[in-house]
Symmetry: D2
Subunit: 167 residues, 4 copies
């Protein structure tokens, strides 16, 4: 893969302090790996926290906005992609990422996990247990869980190693 | 509501015979109520069965295709809307429907349930139990379960009655 | 073609009285042919006029809305498809129609003409002369001009005859 | 504007050598200004040439692909955004760019010019004269013509100066 790996970090526009702290650390670790962080681009919750973490660590951040403008974009998003397509941008988040990390979230995040599974993208849940819900998918190995940002990074690395071994 | 109610019937492109039989009956009952059936438009699984049920009962059927063409559209879809947008058409399925009935399906159907919840659309699951998965949403009353097509129709009617009482 | 022909009628949200009168007549003639009228679904300009013409003549009308809701939909649209995708719905208008008639309009209508040409859909301009602009396409016969709604109908009929002769 | 300016370079997947040479130079000049180049992401024609120009000059390149995958992406695109939405990605190209430069192209490029005009984005045509077609828009100053890549850069700079003076 010549292009840098893109890690999609999904999660709620509203999130508690602990989840945001995790998202911030995850963003920083993604940047330190030389990977690109991609998220939903808004200036709240998991989106703001993960973009801030990556940007402050010197990483490249891409925000796929539901809006036609940048008025509500995070200042930590370096490139704001304006779709003007609302929730349809969730599909773009998934298709553009090599791996998805799903932080704490609601129905929007669940839709992104489901779309990732449909399109064969690996999903790592971070502080968001869906094992009951998705047990029939976990058998196929496409969803796994990480307890910490560090563990999520290790899992991404493991997934990338498998892919490059196949190539 | 001057326009006829649109019932979105979601479900897998692959489905077992019993689920297809349920989808067929559901489609027929929707048509007999004078409602419009909307689905993903393809000629397989729940889509084909539900469109056939509605069409054979004289109802209007709308298929929102992921494709840019009608080559794989069900012959029982009267109006084929070609999006050329792949899974992004799932969002259109949800936004265009007054109520969603989710039949047996996989990750695509789960994405539609999640998108419906995000956009405040009532969801009825038919032969597809997500209570474990979505228990935090069921508390808000936006997901309910039906054991049979007849029960699904009764629940839709109940939802429409609530809406018209508010208007 | 088992499904009825879908005629996409494009044109501005703002339009003068003569253009709206033409769109109204065009809609009525489309309905009388047994064809489905598809447009952008809003309750203004060419959209409102063409939907009204078709609906009052007993035809089926489909509106592909840029919005996620029906608040601004024409009352003459029988089935409102809510995309929530803004201008991206212009692509759906084009892909879903067998033939496009472009009435008086602005940049949005021009985008639909261009998208139709890109996707090989026949375009008839009605009261909107683009011969200067698109002369390099007219050589390929995919754009033609009609002076009246009746002439537009004759041209659609001629296009459908050619298609069925090939099939 | 804290984020770097995004210049959208539009143009055909097929283009003659002179147009590609212009696109290459334009891409290089955009990079030298510190701006981000955004285009349709494919590995042919104006897309390949402009991405190559920018990448070889050390600039950041974003490709908004019509595809759900990167199989046909230019190797000079640093971040490939996979939409899986076909021509609907043209809308994203336009909404995400601060300024559009339209190189030689066909109907797809014309659709992007039209969409840019609809959404109030400044358009500069480079080697692609649409003055006959768009004369009614040029009166509003939103389309202008550049004879060379250098002139296009000067016009972009002038547009950015006007915007920052207003802010």
């Amino acid at each position: 893969m010549r292009r840098p790996c893109i890690v999609g970090v999904m999660g709620g526009a509203r999130a508690d302090a602990a989840s945001c702290e995790n998202a911030y650390r995850l963003g920083a670790l993604i940047a330190l790996q030389g990977w690109v962080l991609l998220n939903g681009g808004r200036n709240t919750g998991i989106m703001e926290a993960s973009a801030r973490g990556a940007a402050e660590a010197g990483g490249l951040t891409i925000g796929i906005l539901p809006d036609a403008h940048t008025a509500n974009a995070s200042q930590f998003v370096r490139v704001a992609v304006c779709t003007g397509m609302g929730s349809a941008r969730n599909v773009i988040n998934v298709l553009s990422s090599n791996v998805i990390v799903a932080c704490s979230g609601g129905a929007g995040t669940l839709s992104e996990i489901a779309l990732a599974l449909k399109h064969g993208k690996p999903v790592i849940t971070l502080g968001y247990d869906l094992s009951q819900c998705l047990q029939f998918y976990q058998g196929h190995g496409s969803v796994c869980t990480a307890a910490t940002p560090q563990e999520a990074i290790a899992r991404i690395q493991s997934i990338l190693d498998q892919v490059s071994r196949v190539d």
